[in-house]
């Protein structure tokens, strides 16, 4: 016989505290894993207790930032249960539900592969789908398979659930066809388009007939204004649009946000066109959840950074700018952003190959690191696969003497800081587990609070 829900909750919460006390990291998913093992259905019942229901966000890239932006918009009025440290499997959602006493609305970023199960359990009132890029093929399988799972998850959604879609992604935009009333967002400003599709562009071929798309504008990877010259499949009509995009280096990006409720000028304090996409997703989702356009604008402008995604940390008299890299499309945007902000002469790039990073490191060869090369005088290659990363730069034409291979993250960080003049900022591009480890190192030195102590 299953334990009563209250007893399960008490047990799981105690486990989380013990894990934290034992110093085993944040313990952010321990209670959820335990609860899920004891009684998978408990997640459904916990979610059902939220008076305002739940919203779910998924994407290959940008889900953590999108969720953090949406939280910034919504939390003025609504008490949220939000998995802000990126624990985005069913167990992470369960842990967040356990932790959030008195929450009214669940706001969950969800791993692409976990979306069907999470959606089936929490029965969301709104779902926001951002993009699909190739990512960790050893873990997720091929892009097509993830897209197929998303299609069936969308079919299973409650009829009253709001669906928010990125129309600029052919695979995601196609989901609007079967669902009247979907909110479709996208960018409309050819002045910030790329001259051509990037090497890592994935959905280059028509989702219906396989003919290569023609792009009137390609913005980020394969995101853009596409149409099929053979069958006519094209980007769906947009209801939430970014126009007049103005890049402001590393300081931010401004754009005109156009919605069915009116238009506003928005200035983000995080840079890059990819963050315009994240802002559009957050604005569309928050709107679907009842936020006003003024609340949306104010929230987006307050937003500073999501966990490790674009994070500035003061380390003594030097700065650290950390940009997570995890797949070709996301890493390309990180590179583009830092080059736009003034290409650095020094960088620490940390490549790990744990399950959460992807055990197959071949993706680094699909990243366009080349724009860094003209100014990069020194590279500190770090992480468990530091040598492979060093080879990526060696075969791109970088002088072997300019590359230092230091697998230890702590030593690599110290070396990077040592090479950074006082008052300057060190650029660090880590993969996921390297990012967690580096944050832990600077936290232990007292420069940043551990993530499990940060306000949600």
């Amino acid at each position: 016989m299953p334990l009563p829900l209250a007893a399960e909750i008490a047990l799981a919460r105690t486990a989380g505290r013990l894990s934290r006390l034992a110093g085993a990291g944040g313990g952010t998913t321990v209670p959820g894993k335990l609860l899920w093992r004891v009684d998978p259905g408990a997640v459904d019942r916990l979610a059902a207790r939220l008076p305002l229901g739940s919203a779910v966000i998924s994407a290959t890239n940008g889900k953590t930032t999108t969720a953090a932006m949406a939280a910034e918009i919504l939390r003025q009025r609504i008490h949220l249960a939000h998995n802000s440290s990126g624990a985005n499997l069913v167990s992470g959602v369960a842990s967040t539900l356990l932790d959030a006493r008195g929450a009214e609305l669940g706001l969950f970023e969800v791993d692409e592969a976990a979306l069907p199960e999470v959606a089936a359990r929490v029965r969301p009132r709104a779902v926001c789908l951002g993009n699909l890029f190739r990512d960790q093929l050893d873990r997720y399988g091929e892009l097509e398979h993830v897209a197929a799972r998303w299609r069936s998850a969308v079919r299973e959604l409650p009829a009253e659930a709001a669906l928010v879609l990125n129309g600029d992604d052919p695979q995601v935009g196609e989901l609007a066809r079967d669902r009247a009333g979907a909110v479709v967002f996208g960018v409309d400003d050819p002045s910030v388009a790329r001259p051509s599709l990037q090497h890592a562009a994935d959905s280059k071929y028509c989702v219906r007939c396989g003919t290569p798309y023609e792009y009137a504008a390609a913005y980020v990877g394969h995101l853009g204004e596409y149409s099929c010259p053979n069958c006519g499949h094209a980007r769906p009509a947009l209801s939430v649009v970014a126009r007049d995009v103005r890049m402001q280096g590393l300081d931010g990006v401004a754009f005109r946000l156009q919605t069915p409720d009116g238009a506003r000028d928005v200035r983000l304090r995080v840079p890059g066109l990819y963050n315009v996409y994240n802002a559009l997703a957050a604005a569309s989702l928050a709107g679907a959840l009842g936020a006003s356009l003024d609340e949306v604008t104010a929230g987006l402008e307050r937003f500073s950074a999501a966990f490790g995604r674009f994070e500035r940390i003061a380390v003594g008299d030097r700065g650290l700018l950390m940009l997570l890299i995890k797949n070709p499309a996301g890493a390309n945007e990180a590179v583009r952003t830092i080059v736009d902000g003034g290409a650095p002469s020094l960088a620490v790039i940390a490549l790990n190959d744990a399950i959460a990073d992807g055990r197959d490191v071949s993706w680094i060869w699909d990243v366009d690191f080349e724009p860094l090369l003209p100014h990069l005088g020194r590279l500190v290659a770090a992480g468990d696969r530091a040598a492979e990363l060093a080879l990526r730069f060696k075969y791109a034409g970088m002088d072997g003497d300019a590359i230092e291979v230091i697998p230890s993250l702590e030593r690599a960080l110290d070396r990077g800081l040592e090479l950074t003049p006082p008052g300057d900022e060190l650029i660090v591009l880590p993969t996921y587990t390297a990012m967690l480890a580096l944050r832990k190192i600077v936290a232990e030195r007292g420069f940043v609070r551990p993530y499990w102590e940060r306000a949600a």
Binding site: G141, D360, W365
Partner: protein, 249 residues
Amino acid sequence: MKIVVGHLYPDYLNIYADRGNIAVLARRASWRGHELEVRTVSVGAPVEPGEHDLLYVGGGQDREQALVAEDLVAKADGVRAAVDSGAALLAVCGGYQLMGRSYRDFHGGDLPGIGVFPLETVAGETRMIGDMLLECELEPGVARTLAGFENHAGRTKLDPGAEPLGRVVAGFGNDGESGFEGCRVGRAVGTYLHGPLLPRNPWFADWVLAQALAHRLGEPPVFEPLADDLEQQAHTVSASRARSRGGRR
């Protein structure tokens, strides 16, 4: 000397960082005073007799692989003629499967192959994913290792007597049962190993380059060694990954 590479379908078959393999061939050729010229051969373009010293074909997702399979059949005579006249060929993952006689996907659909390699592939229910280590003896008496990553649903069966690329030390290989991986026919090699394959296996990159030059010179040249410390370091890590966590048969 100029080495002409025909890169088949780089716009469709590029999923496992195939451009890393090309970058390694280009640099290592130039360090030896040669020039690698890479020509794209995509859908609709023929493989002209005698044009290429090396043909390269990479891996793709199922969808892209199906999109090119039919086109490759139209190129079959050109590819076979190139290989028969001594051009080198390197085929990785999906490209390796298409260079066999046929590929049957999990739903029973058949993709035609072009029979450069004496093998057939049938997709299984599970994917074979993980780090892999091989031992090869491409020249009699010279055993060397190749380290990389495999991720394939296809079970590839070599015809009796066909020559595999190597013996599996750790990982799955062709079919997860035979203990062998890849296939070699003269200067043509097919394999599931990506990672990409060549950066962390510099001896094999040089072997492929030498085979391509042999198409010009009649004999593969002997190269002066390069400073491959980083490459060896990457190889060592990759090999140890395969030993500790490669797929188990």
